[in-house]
Symmetry: C2
Subunit: 189 residues, 2 copies
DNA sequence: ATGGTACGATACAGATCTGTATCGTTAGTA
DNA sequence: TACTAACGATACAGATCTGTATCGTACCAT
């Protein structure tokens, strides 16, 4: 059957969960090893350093994000509705206990130095989102698509951070309505 | 003249700068002592622990925020214009190299556990901002003032995080326009 | 059967961090 | 002048962290 998860997968899943919930600096390799039931030596056999494990997690999070982005917007017929659908899905996610914010914002907070490798990965991710938003905003007929995209990025990141901060009564519950207001204001329909 | 800064002040100013720029976990007490030119023993004579120093910084940051809030909105004649003025000033600040994000969002990222004292201080700060926004939104005639306030909080926090992440070409340069759009949409004038 | 590969367990090196203990010095004050 | 309070310098205790070294074992393919 070969359905057993490999030690590397086991390690990765545990690290991903701990990094996301508790932060990158707060989680040590000993904790990851103990929690996953995999030896620390095996960890270092698969990942040369803790930073490599962090980078692997960030790259996978980027893939996850785009997988979700595609699936949440696929059924929306227009660019306008695609953006709305994304923010509707985002709102549902960030008002869920499973959400601990944004892995990329979290790494940027913990490692603000621009030359840290993880910071670079995060920055590139946000730039791709910005580019994608800009394209959709343009196709939706916005007069200033780059400006609208930036405004939507602020909303998205604000929602992620609210979720990391608030346990209940989260301001992010209004992110979809806010996105709609910005879209309507920028498109003018 | 007695104008010399006291060792405690020297210590505090150095710690504030380092915490804000590099993060709380990344900055150790030895670094603070060395950078300030004050002995580590003197640090612990004034602050029982590093956490106490962090809390002192957060409380002072809260005061700073409200001082700025009052000064930036004082000359605006209406609640609507007060909110616009705040976001205009925020935009100017976050597009400046002196800005390293929001001390409260930063602490929430680095210490996500809700029972960490610093997290509590941060949460209370954000709640006060939310309350203040709600009051102004209500006085400005918004149909759903709490919702508008939440949307503005998302924008504000998104702008802070963008600044921590981006060095140039910062999406936060459009935060004032976004706030205006949300206000106009919610008030309907 | 045998050899290679992956993993577990453990100990450890070396760095770093928070916080304390000790002692010397300096400055202000009665 | 002598006392006191604050500070500096240094060493250190104890914990924690990343990463490595070593050795034993289990499994798998030839």
């Amino acid at each position: 059957m070969k359905s057993e998860t490999s030690p590397k997968d086991q390690l990765y899943q545990t690290a991903a969960k701990l990094f996301y919930q508790h932060g990158y600096r707060a989680v040590g390799v000993d904790t990851i090893a103990a929690e996953s039931g995999i030896s620390k030596m095996t960890l270092y056999r698969h990942y040369p350093s803790k930073d490599d494990l962090i980078i692997a997690y960030l790259k996978e999070s980027d893939d996850d994000f785009w997988r979700y982005f595609e699936s949440s917007t696929r059924n929306a017929p227009t660019p306008y509705e695609k953006l709305l659908a994304f923010f509707q899905g985002l709102q549902e996610y960030v008002t869920t206990p499973a959400c601990y914010g944004c892995p990329f914002l979290n790494i940027a907070s913990e490692y603000p130095e621009a030359d840290y490798p993880g910071h670079q990965v995060a920055l590139e991710h946000k730039q791709r989102v910005r580019t994608r938003f800009t394209r959709l905003a343009k196709d939706a007929g916005a007069a200033k698509p780059a400006m609208l995209a930036d405004q939507l990025v602020l909303l998205m990141d604000g929602a992620y951070m609210s979720t990391r901060m608030f346990e209940s009564d989260n301001p992010a519950r209004h992110v979809a309505a806010a996105a709609r207001a910005l879209l309507d204001s920028a498109i003018g329909n």
